[in-house]
């Protein structure tokens, strides 16, 4: 009986033609073309690359032999199957350390995008000092181990061609700087914009958002105003000029050549990167209150009930080791921390951007490596996006949970977000995970508050009906009402 280890290509890895990511079982590989291999060899001979690998700022990477797998017919098939046509362009393979959870910048709180930007700029400085550069500047090249950013796009590190400008500058502004400006200067969270626009915010759009007062803020005049004006002025047609219709030369390669012969040098890039670093350092999000930021100051629980709830979660946590846990509606993350006692990775999600930002800053101060705090709306989670709807995946495809915490959440989903109760249970069932659900009864003051200004169409929001749904979908292993009687905890295991 032949074992069938399938090689799967990463659907989002196609824009850079010089390499391709693929997976075999749980391992992550990257096939390299000959030019990419030459860059890799240059990279491994630098000082900064091993140093940053050791510091955990670049994802662990090593060159390996090309993996193969047996097809069902017993024939050995190697990575060559990923060449589009003709002879295989792939000449070498790298193996990357696997990141437990892939996340995207439109799920990150402000602080995470800012810290990824600072890492991008410091990588640039390190590379430039040794005649290399990062050819692009995208937050999608960064992932997280807990609250530590890690650079994952190794082929982005290439030799700096003499006299060439920083080609990634515009992308850095559109995907890092302008979203950060939007939130730091205009107090508008950037996540919806990044989710909606794969290329980020253009200089022209960012300029429209800035007032005259904002032009005086760090970085706005140089990187927003001047860049928007320069881009408008230097926009090029790609049609050949009329006098030479077959002339395929474009203005852009000439500009690069002219810049080089005019003496453009890496020190100019370093000067710009230093300026950007100073600007990003000054950026912070100053919002101090939000819908959910004060929740823990006025908890609807007595101390005794909080202890009961924590004990319940802790019992489930230690009943077996968990590799991946979701905490929906995590707020300050108290229960994420409990479950992290016996889990490899916890994805802590909340709809409130300020709450997630604060949780991230707390985790960062502790140097946590297990909990990934993300902004996510259970009723509208990040969908499949990008080319063919496969470039960016939904969370359930990226981080399959073994346990889901839904504490003090269901009443908001059913009553505020109008999700039918049985559909919420159905959604949980499809994730094939164990669940801890806290059901809030109709007697509870919070539920009554939610219903106060709405017409009560929520006949499905009843304890009996809830218990019927959950028992049909899960084996309820433990049920515990808290002292007040209006909040009931359930631990359910999926029915096989």
């Amino acid at each position: 009986m032949s074992s069938f280890n399938k090689l799967r290509s990463e659907p989002g890895s196609f824009r850079d033609r010089t390499s391709r990511v693929f997976y075999q079982e749980d391992a992550v590989f990257r096939a390299l073309t000959a030019p990419a291999l030459a860059e890799w060899q240059q990279l491994t001979s630098t000082n900064f690359f091993p140093r940053l690998l050791n510091e955990g700022k670049i994802v662990g990477t090593e060159q390996v032999g090309t993996p193969s797998f047996q097809s069902q017919a017993g024939k050995s098939v190697t990575v060559e199957r990923f060449s589009p046509t003709g002879p295989s362009p792939w000449v070498a393979t790298l193996k990357h350390k696997k990141i437990p959870v892939i996340s995207y910048p439109y799920e990150w709180p402000f602080g995470m995008l800012r810290d990824a930007a600072l890492l991008q700029l410091s990588l640039l400085q390190a590379a430039l000092a040794e005649d290399m550069i990062l050819k692009d500047a995208s937050p999608f090249n960064f992932q997280w181990l807990g609250s530590n950013p890690i650079f994952i796009d190794i082929p982005s590190l290439t030799r700096l061609k003499p006299g060439e400008p920083w080609v990634g500058y515009r992308q850095f502004c559109q995907l890092f700087l302008f979203p950060l400006f939007l939130q730091a200067y205009k107090d508008v969270p950037f996540q919806p914009w990044l989710r909606g626009s794969i290329d980020g915010i253009s200089a022209q759009d960012c300029l429209q958002l800035m007032s005259v007062r904002d032009l005086l803020r760090p970085g706005v005049f140089s990187h927003v105003y001047l860049q928007a004006k320069a881009q408008a002025r230097y926009a090029e047609p790609i049609q050949p000029c009329q006098s030479a219709p077959h002339d395929k030369r474009h203005l852009k390669p000439n500009l690069k050549k002219d810049l080089r012969s005019a003496g453009f040098h890496a020190t100019l890039i370093q000067a710009n990167v230093s300026r950007l670093t100073k600007v990003v350092h000054t950026l912070s999000w100053k919002r101090s209150r939000s819908t959910w930021s004060e929740y823990t100051r006025q908890l609807p629980y007595t101390d005794a009930e909080l202890t009961q709830k924590a004990d319940f979660v802790r019992r489930v946590t230690h009943s077996r080791p968990w590799s991946m846990v979701w905490d929906l509606g995590c707020n300050t993350g108290a229960f994420s921390r409990i479950v992290a006692e016996n889990a490899t990775t916890v994805v802590a999600m909340d709809i409130d951007a300020l709450v997630v930002e604060r949780f991230y800053q707390a985790l960062k101060a502790e140097g946590d490596t297990q909990i990934l705090p993300l902004i996510s709306n259970v009723a509208d989670p990040a969908p499949n996006l990008g080319w063919r709807g496969r470039e960016r995946q939904s969370l359930s495809q990226r981080a399959k949970p073994e346990l889901i915490l839904s504490l003090a959440l269901i009443h908001h989903l059913v009553i505020s977000a109008n999700i039918p109760l049985h559909e919420f249970i159905q959604w949980l069932t499809e994730l094939k995970a164990a669940v801890i659900i806290e059901f809030i009864t109709r007697d509870d003051p919070m539920v009554q508050k939610l219903l106060r200004y709405k017409e009560d169409h929520y006949a499905d929001y009843e304890t009996a009906y809830f218990e019927q749904c959950i028992s049909a979908a899960f084996t309820v292993v433990e049920r515990q009402p808290l002292t007040s009687g209006t909040r009931i905890l359930y631990y359910g295991q999926p029915k096989t």
């Binding site: 000959a34 140089s222 001047l226 090029e236 710009n272």
Partner: protein, 99 residues
Amino acid sequence: MVRTATSAREVKSRGLSRVLSCVLGGVALTFPTAAHAYLDPGSGSMLLQLLLGGTAGLAVLIKLYWQRLLLLFGIARKEDPDEQVPQPPPTMQETDLPG
């Protein structure tokens, strides 16, 4: 003091703005077709790096447009592309692996 810093930044901003205006004026002489269809905004960002590169960048900027002005007036010849000019992205069959 914040007020002074703002004024200094204002002065610097106005200075940069004037430089950019001169540059734009110079470009208008040399690129008569530049103002048409918006398709590739990368050039503006690349040129901006000269201004953001400090005084060294300004020196490059001046040299860049001096060369173009000379070309326009027929004083200088267009240089042949040298061997280090970046080629278009390699095709799949290209193998320039050294050794």
